[in-house]
């Protein structure tokens, strides 16, 4: 079952790389958050059930509920439908996603986990989710897409933490969630400001600040 979820996560990766519609990306991020949220239920039990259920519920609420809702709200406010001019096209992105998966497997084969884990695929999948998020951040020009990429990056880290290190003191995880939450929140507010100020949210046109030749671009 755990392996099934992990496989699903890989598919979500590829899907989010392939889609340029923002609303579809947000939906995929929500599914991804839900899939990661239920992972603790399928781990060999080490911690009491009550805490486990709380972690699952809080994760689901934030990752599959509040954050996607907030992204939808931001999307409606700034009124962007799709990624018009990504730096890397959809098919090339998917190919990069496959390459990222390969890289993740390679890295995790070089870094053996020094204790028993529920599934050998946890580390490579977590790394590949993070790499995917990273790739989306650098390959998309829309500010909202970059926020989505950041969320995917954090999802990968969260998967790594929750699947391997659940016994760590709870405070750290809560802090993680909270920070993700606040981070996205602040980024969302900034997106509003960008759209109000520039009447678009295309970050590739945010190029007034540079060391050389700023004059030419600033006149746009």
């Amino acid at each position: 079952m755990l392996d099934g979820i992990l496989m699903l996560l890989v598919l979500f990766n590829l899907f989010s790389l392939g889609s340029t519609r923002i609303s579809a990306s947000i939906r995929v991020v929500a599914y991804q958050g839900a899939a990661i949220g239920v992972v603790p239920l399928f781990l060999p039990g080490k911690i009491p059930g009550g805490i486990l259920v709380t972690i699952v519920l809080v994760t689901l609420l934030i990752k599959a509920g509040i954050l996607p809702w907030f992204l939808r709200y931001a999307q409606k406010r700034v009124n962007v439908r799709r990624e018009e001019k990504p730096f890397v096209g959809a098919s090339a992105s998917i190919l990069s996603g496959v390459a990222a998966l390969g890289t993740a497997f390679f890295i995790s084969s070089r870094l053996p986990i020094p204790f028993a884990v529920a599934s050998p695929f946890i580390v490579p999948v977590a790394l590949s989710v993070s790499l995917t998020g990273f790739f989306i951040i650098i390959s998309r020009a829309e500010a909202l897409s970059q926020v989505i990429g950041y969320l995917i990056l954090e999802n990968g880290i969260y998967l790594f933490g929750i699947a391997l290190l659940l016994e760590q003191p709870l405070l750290v995880e809560l802090g993680m969630l909270l920070d993700v939450f606040v981070g996205i929140f602040v980024m969302g507010i900034t997106v509003f400001h960008i759209s109000r100020e520039f009447e678009h949210t295309d970050t590739s046109r945010l190029s007034g600040l540079a060391d050389w030749l700023p004059e030419v671009k600033r006149s746009e």
Binding site: K46, L111, P112, I113, P114, F115, S130, F134, I137, A143, Q146, Y150, L153, E154, I157, F160, G161, L164, L165, E167, Q168, P169, L171, V172, G175, M176, D179, V182, G183, V186, M187, T190, H193, I194, E197, F198, T203, L206, S207, G208, L209, D211, W212
Partner: protein, 487 residues
């Protein structure tokens, strides 16, 4: 008691958001800064008071005390300047010369509140003994400093804020990966081992070296982004040039050091587990790369706030270089000097900007004629930050040079000296052109009060350069001893 260093500014920061009276809020900012500086300086110089302080995951060791004292002193001077700056911002017409657009400033309450919470989160970082907590504090500094950069509600500062948020958040995310790797490497100690410094530096603790190495790489790149190490420094010149000068001074002088502190915490673990040489190699690469990148961009720079920003990149490189060649003592001393001098320079830059209304180096000529004090302090500051005696940066850079010579490889001191030389020429050339010559504007304002904090900071660095009190020496050596002492 040391927890007050975090709690007091945090509470005051929250209060500042709701306080209606401008005067009261400004007084609150300044008095909290005063109390914070006095208390942290006391803890640093007379450590018996807080040495055994331990409560949950909080504690202050020599390293934390030293860094707290440095950024607290800087914050005190910056807050004094902030009070004057905020008063002037309220009264002057809001217009930016370069774009000719009207713009609004963020509400003053939010700015003051963010400043105080910023101080609180840096204190939290210095107080933290748990790597998760360090990470949370680091993230908190990013989030509360973003509104500081976006104080002038205009396009360019928005662009800078966006870059800052995105790049630093990604850096912080990588650092979180580093922390998780650390937890994996500590898993040999039994399930649920907490990743706190005291637990992991405890007797008989062996960490898995492979995961610890991987963790250090992630932490160095992650927090290194925040620290402004090349090639992850790209947010830094934009943020420093677009933020109001108070915020630039704090970002550059306090925040970058704090990110360095977070890396050093991880380095402590690596040292205890015999990974010192591995880490120092990485420090060396990033250090030299940062200095080289800074040198390239300083030479052709056309904006004087960006010039200062690149100088910060250079100094962060020097800090790493110093640790790499084995003189943690020099690195500590350099960190303090950089903080004070860069604070002074940014405050001068703020004054120059207010007088000349331009950030372009080409538009600023003859500061010394129009604003004599600003001219003198600006030029002295530039000389000082380039390592001119008798200022403190000369002493620390000299110690680092000596260590580099005794490190065994003659290439290191040669490269170090060459880069310092290039930067010296680039910066002083600009400084001379800006300070002397025929003034480019008819007259300026002659406010000495807003330059007072810059003067104080310069004097502090001068003091560090010519006289080292025994208590301070003990404090610096104590901090350095935690990083493997002097090589």
């Amino acid at each position: 008691m040391a927890i007050l260093l975090f709690l007091a500014p945090f509470a005051a920061g929250l209060a500042a958001f709701v306080i209606k009276s401008d005067r009261f809020r400004r007084r609150l900012l300044f008095s909290v800064a005063c109390a914070h500086a006095v208390f942290s300086l006391y803890l640093c110089l007379f450590p018996s008071g807080g040495e055994d302080y331990r409560w949950l995951w909080f504690g202050l060791d020599a390293l934390g005390r030293y860094f707290t004292a440095v950024f607290s002193l800087l914050f005190l001077c910056a807050s004094f300047y902030a009070v004057i700056y905020l008063k002037e911002e309220k009264s002057r017409p809001r217009e930016k010369k370069e774009e000719g657009l009207l713009f609004n400033n963020a509400p003053e309450a939010a700015f003051t509140g963010c400043l105080l919470v910023f101080l609180a989160s840096m204190s939290l970082l210095a107080l933290s003994r748990h790597f998760g907590l360090i990470w949370i504090a680091m993230e908190a500094t990013t989030l509360v400093s973003a509104p500081l950069i976006y104080f002038h509600r205009q396009r360019s500062s928005l662009e800078a804020t966006w870059k800052y948020l995105l790049i630093c958040s990604v850096g912080i995310a990588l650092a979180l990966f580093g922390n998780l790797f650390l937890a994996v490497s500590a898993s040999g100690q039994g399930p649920g081992t907490e990743i706190s410094i005291d637990r992991l530096l405890g007797p008989g603790v062996r960490l898995d070296p492979l995961w610890l190495k991987a963790g250090f790489i992630f932490v160095l790149v992650g927090y290194g982004t925040k620290m402004g190490l090349a090639p992850m420094h790209t947010w830094l010149p934009d943020a420093h040039s677009e933020a109001p000068s108070v915020a630039s001074a704090l970002l550059s002088g306090a925040l970058l050091n704090c990110a360095f502190l977070a890396i050093l915490r991880f380095y402590q673990l690596c040292l205890a587990n015999g990974l010192g040489p591995f880490c120092r190699e990485l420090f060396l690469i990033f250090g030299i790369l940062s200095m080289a990148v800074a040198a390239v961009f300083i030479i052709g720079q056309s904006d004087y706030k960006r010039l200062l920003a690149y100088s910060s990149v250079e100094h962060m490189g020097i800090l790493c270089f110093a640790v790499a060649v084995g003189t943690a003592y020099g690195s500590m001393l350099q960190a303090a000097n950089h903080s004070f001098l860069k604070g002074a320079l940014f405050i001068c830059a703020g004054n120059i900007l207010a007088g000349f209304r331009s950030k372009k180096i080409a538009d600023v000529r003859g500061i010394a004629h129009i604003m004599p004090w600003a001219g003198v302090l600006w030029f002295a500051g530039i000389l000082a930050i380039c390592g001119m005696p008798p200022f403190g940066a000369f002493l620390s850079e000299w110690i680092i040079l000596k260590a580099a010579f005794s490190f065994g490889n003659l290439w290191l001191p040669a490269v170090y000296l060459f880069l310092l030389g290039v930067i010296f020429i680039g910066m002083t050339g600009t400084g001379i052109r800006m300070t002397f010559g025929v003034p480019s504007i008819p007259g300026g304002k002659k406010s000495f009060l807003s330059l007072l904090p810059a003067l104080l900071l310069l004097l502090l660095s001068l003091f560090l350069g010519i006289y080292m009190p025994a208590a301070l020496d003990v404090a610096v050596s104590g901090a350095a001893a935690l990083l493997g002492g002097q090589g």
